[in-house]
């Protein structure tokens, strides 16, 4: 994008000036270079979000922003119900609750590296993944309702995890307001067989080690040490979330006409938060969030079983779990007043700072862990939330962000070749789809180091550690 079109706030904050149709300005948190490299569509999509009723302060995009549908991926928008604010499928996506769980272990790189093939092969067998995969638990109709209402809490009560896990999941693994009555029969039927499945696309399970520590004090609070083995799971709400997305796209398209909401990009169809349609969508989306929490918890349980087959004395604890596709009721300070808003984060991680009541007491002194997934060949990061994050509704980036289309990536790389090249670098990859592997080639993404440095420099979250992969299972 042409940087001269932006109003520079500082080196890592760029404003899209408000036009007559925009209710607020747009703002991108990224370095000059990353903004220049972004697709023009990001400008358009950030501006379109800024035209929606009831939007607060600014329509935002993070350093990993790229062309999405409706909101850009990496987009954030907060809406006030009292001011006619809306909820939109385009602000959440078709995978509500998609997110990342990171587990910390008592294992070291030295112990695990020689057995990485055995670890990955074992987990590949145990954790169902890929298109059409079935979970190991078949839920009854009653169970389905319980999962949607109670998320990871219910799954843990059934024996798939520990009470301690629950403490370290965002929202303690369950959001309020989820009513299965607002979820279609199709969605419920699609869900029954899929709890505990990884999915496909950019979803993965990765074995990593702590390669660099940037903040010793924060690393200590998070229980992280150099060369420690971590396990990260990236997945979402599977077919249930997809069906909720498609069901409500239609409902919200009709609602947009009914309430005469001007829509600048069709995928931004929405309904006022306080309308019956808006309430129903929000409630169904909460069901997707709860299902995603439960889904990741079952995968954590399976992962523990798999790791213990190779390392019987392994201790595997939850560091934290975040979602990066969600709309959540939160309180934020806006124009010196505390307001309740619905914050849409589509490809953006919540990043609450120190002393926030929603975060685990063990992390209160430094802020929540902000888990940023890189690519299978580069690195990922763990940051902590800051007090300065209020300017972005306490949000950060979610990954490195695509820089190349899937279509072009498939023409540029071959799955088998990527597997070989990464193996030479000491990273053992196993995928369910070779085409999928090519699409997820590290070169198809923006450089994660630059993305994370931008978020760090913008003050939205601060770097704690860098982690590097040694093994990865792609869905």
């Amino acid at each position: 994008m042409d940087i001269n079109k932006f109003k520079k706030i500082n080196d890592y904050e760029w404003e899209i000036p408000k036009t007559a149709e925009m209710k607020v300005p747009g703002r991108i948190f990224a370095s000059k270079k990353l903004v220049e490299d972004m697709d023009e569509k990001v400008w358009e999509q950030v501006s379109n979000v800024a035209t929606l009723p009831g939007i607060q302060k600014a329509s935002l995009a993070m350093a990993d922003a790229h062309w999405g549908y409706g909101f850009p991926i990496g987009g954030v928008g907060a809406f006030s119900a009292e001011e006619g604010g809306v909820v939109s499928v385009g602000g959440v996506g078709f995978d509500g609750g998609c997110g990342i769980r990171t587990l910390r272990t008592n294992l070291t790189l030295k112990e695990v590296q020689p057995k990485i093939k055995q670890v990955v092969d074992t987990l590949f067998e145990i954790v169902p993944a890929g298109l059409g995969s079935r979970g190991k638990i078949l839920l009854s109709d009653k169970d389905v309702d319980e999962v949607l209402k109670l998320g990871a809490k219910w799954i843990i009560e059934k024996g798939y995890g520990t009470e301690e896990d629950l403490k370290y999941i965002e929202n303690n693994g369950v959001v309020k307001g989820a009513d299965p009555k607002n979820v279609s029969d199709f969605a419920l039927r699609r869900e029954k067989r899929q709890v505990g499945t990884l999915g496909s696309g950019n979803h993965y399970l990765e074995i990593q080690y702590v390669s660099d520590i940037y903040d010793e004090k924060a690393a200590k609070v998070f229980g992280l040490t150099k060369d420690q083995i971590l396990i990260t799971i990236h997945c979402g709400s599977r077919a249930l979330g997809h069906q909720i997305g498609t069901d409500y796209l239609k409902v919200l398209a009709e609602a947009s006409r009914k309430y005469k909401i001007p829509i600048h990009e069709r995928e931004l169809v929405c309904a006022p938060i306080n309308s019956p349609e808006g309430q129903r969508y929000f409630s169904a989306m909460c069901c997707a969030l709860n299902y995603a929490y439960a889904n990741r918890q079952v995968i954590v349980h399976l992962t523990r079983q798999g790791i213990k087959k190779v390392f019987p004395k392994a201790e595997i604890k939850t560091l934290y779990e975040i979602t990066h596709n969600s709309a959540k009721k939160e309180k934020h300070k806006i124009n010196n007043k505390i307001k309740e808003v619905i914050v849409h984060r589509k490809g953006s991680t919540r990043a609450f700072g120190p002393e926030t009541k929603e975060i685990p007491s063990a992390y209160k002194s430094i802020g929540q862990p902000v888990l940023i997934g890189g690519t299978m060949g580069t690195s990922s990061y763990i940051l902590h939330g800051t007090s300065e994050g209020g300017k972005a509704f306490f949000s950060a980036c979610h990954g490195s962000g695509r820089a190349m289309s899937r279509t072009r990536a498939k023409k540029t790389w071959y799955g088998q070749k990527i597997v070989r090249e990464l193996q030479e670098k000491g990273i053992y990859i196993k995928g369910h789809s070779m085409a999928g592997l090519a699409e997820e080639a590290p070169g198809a993404y923006k450089p994660v180091d630059d993305v994370v440095d931008s978020i760090h420099s913008a003050g939205l979250a601060k770097k704690v550690v860098k982690v590097k992969p040694i093994g990865n299972i792609k869905g």
Partner: protein, 159 residues
């Protein structure tokens, strides 16, 4: 956009005589994938669009059309009908653990537009060369239009 990309003629065993007029293809999108169907009427464009979508998930030429499923949907305009059609197919594929390769669309026009469709395929298997799961068809880049006497239906699908 149409015209810039090469339209790949696919082998269509069922309507071989029409293969010059019917086609499907993908087009690039930074995060996801664009799908496009082309036909001599809207019904054919919708049928080809469905092929483009399932070809994102598997190699559809490897899918035998041995089991039939009926699919119904409706919408107030032709573009939203295309999305309803694709999403109804994804729902049926998921519920039946199937993948489809042959599609028949009949559009009925009254106050609202309705599709009564028949789709054919088989249980999803590794032999189909499983690729990406399509999460949903989106309104992004959604267009149904006529150009050079051909009908084109397209949108971005979320993967």
């Amino acid at each position: 956009m149409y015209g810039k990309n090469k339209i790949t003629n696919q082998k269509d065993k069922i309507k071989n005589n029409k293969k010059q007029e019917m086609a499907y293809e993908n087009f690039p999108h930074e995060a996801d994938i664009g799908i496009r169907g082309i036909g001599k009427n809207i019904e054919e464009a919708f049928e080809e669009g469905a092929k483009a979508m399932f070809d994102v998930e598997v190699d559809i030429e490897k899918v035998k059309a041995i089991k039939k499923i009926s699919v119904k949907c409706q919408a107030i305009n032709i573009e939203e009908l295309f999305i309803e059609w694709l999403n109804a197919l994804l729902t049926q594929a998921s519920l039946n653990e199937m993948v489809f390769s042959k599609f028949k669309v009949k559009i009925k026009k009254n106050e609202i537009l309705k599709i009564e469709g028949e789709v054919f395929g088989e249980k999803l298997r590794k032999k189909h060369n499983i690729k990406d799961e399509v999460k949903g068809a989106t309104y992004s880049q959604l267009k149904v239009f006529k150009k050079n006497n051909k009908y084109i239906a397209q949108c971005i699908v979320d993967v």
